[in-house]
Amino acid sequence: MTTQELIIKQPAIALSADTLLYATGIYKTFTLHNQGGIKLPVLKNIILEVKAGECIALTGVSGSGKSTLMKSLYGNYGIDRGEIWVKHNNHWVDLAKLPPHKIIRIRQKTIGYVSQFLRVIPRVPALDVAAEPLLELGIDIDTAYKKIKELFSLLNLPERLWQLSPTTFSGGEKQRVNIARALAVNYPIFLLDEPTSALDATNRQVVVDLLTAKKQQGCALIGIFHDEEVKDKLRTRELVFGVIDNNKISFG
């Protein structure tokens, strides 16, 4: 290809000074090549703007594309069309057009992701699993451990588990390791995929308090919350998803 691609350095519309993420015209279709090339359109012209201190709840029936959008905003899924503007180190970058090594930087500093499931590394203690993002930022190990221990204590994770690999932990224990891992870093943007799904009422409230504090510090939160009570406490707005049914297939 000889034509130089036009590189747009900022969103086309003027955004408020406290906007941290602006996604526009997002389209995503899955093509299953090994199942007869079937096409599953999941996202169609999604627009989303999130400001500091806001918490956007993504709602809609299962299969409506909530998780797909979350994964697209993290660069975990590629989108077909659209722009995902993220304020990174005070500059706008379009995540949809960034090369992989730059997306890695965005994930280290700007966007944190709390998934439902912890990716367990055999043999690595919970403390190290949770401290890893801090260490990758170059924070010294003692400071990192201190921060994680504080969060583990707040989240009522029994101290006897800290030095064990989470391989054998319960769902709720793993989820708390995952939450500590993400919330330890001062990301301006958090993506939360059912962060409290495996927690009891006490720990749900701890997570709500931690996330409320993040909001007050000026973080932008985008989340899927199946727990209505958690959602009501956190969300400032909702983005409601409908199912695209032009070929009668929904995607889970």
Binding site: F30, T31, L32, H33, N34, K71, G75, N76, Y77, G78, P100, H101, I103, I104, R119, I121, P122, R123, V124, L135, E136
Partner: protein
């Protein structure tokens, strides 16, 4: 961030077979690049073309060394190239027998790379060897034992120590966890992760094991019939594969961890 290594239009044929067909990629400092594909896809050939002097037909291998000099590897005089592979580069073979000298002690295996770069002080060399044995979690009491008395996992870690002693910036690995049982594999993977982070290593890792790249690699190349069919962030390639072959590869993993 500037790439450490640029591979431009690299091709390699064996007779009529195109083992590597027009391969392009960049490797950035501190990152692990995984190359996956089935047997015969050309992934090991690609690794050997870059890392161990297998002659290429066309294309360029550009490396920026520790002095910030940009080197065209194909045009590099042989003594300089050999020096590079013994200092800033390291190669970890799938079979430790290919990467170790089995007839000298563990300590001597590590010392060899230091002797090659002109270190002569015996006491220092022994201290260094001891330090790197500790880093790869081998009991330093085993320093004077021969590698054939080591288990497969230990031999693999000894190979790592032998390579790490010259503080390389770029490491090539061919199926490093290949012959190891699962718990030994996990230990080696964990060790590799911390070494990459603490020593700021860049790694090109060839494997057919999707679980290994999921844990280790930042970026992934998928090869089939000598061609690179897909590349990108590891989690994106595995979770949202675009190419029919990658979709097949990912869906055939029994336990999608």
């Amino acid at each position: 961030m500037k790439p450490l290594l640029n591979i431009n239009r690299l091709s390699k044929t064996y007779g009529k077979l195109k083992a590597c067909n027009n391969i392009n990629f960049n490797l950035y400092p501190g990152q692990v690049l995984g190359i996956v594909g089935e047997s015969g896809s050309g992934k090991s050939t690609l690794l050997n073309c870059i890392g161990s002097n297998l002659e290429i037909d066309t294309g360029e291998i550009i490396y920026t060394n520790s002095k910030n000099e940009i080197l065209n590897i194909k045009q590099l005089p042989e003594p300089q190239h050999r020096k590079l592979t013994k200092t800033e580069w390291g190669f970890v073979q799938q079979n430790p027998r290919d990467g170790l000298r089995m007839n000298v002690t563990a300590g001597a295996n590590i010392a060899e790379r230091l002797l090659n770069v002109g270190v002569r002080h015996y006491g220092n060399i022994r201290e260094e060897a001891k330090y790197w044995l500790e880093q790869v979690e081998i009991d330093t009491n085993r320093m004077d034992d021969f590698p054939h008395t080591f288990s497969g996992g230990m031999q693999q870690r000894l190979q790592l120590a032998r390579v790490l002693v010259t503080k390389p910036r770029l490491i090539f690995m061919d199926e490093p966890t290949g012959g190891l049982d699962v718990s030994v594999q996990a230990r080696l993977l964990d060790l590799l992760r911390s070494l990459v982070r603490n020593l700021h290593l860049s790694v090109i890792l060839v494997t057919h094991d999707i679980g290994v790249v999921r844990l280790l690699a930042h970026r992934l190349l998928v090869m089939k019939n000598g061609q690179m069919v897909e590349s990108g962030l590891t989690d994106r390639v595995l979770d949202d594969p675009q190419h029919p072959y990658t979709q097949q590869l990912v869906s055939s993993v029994l336990i999608n961890n």
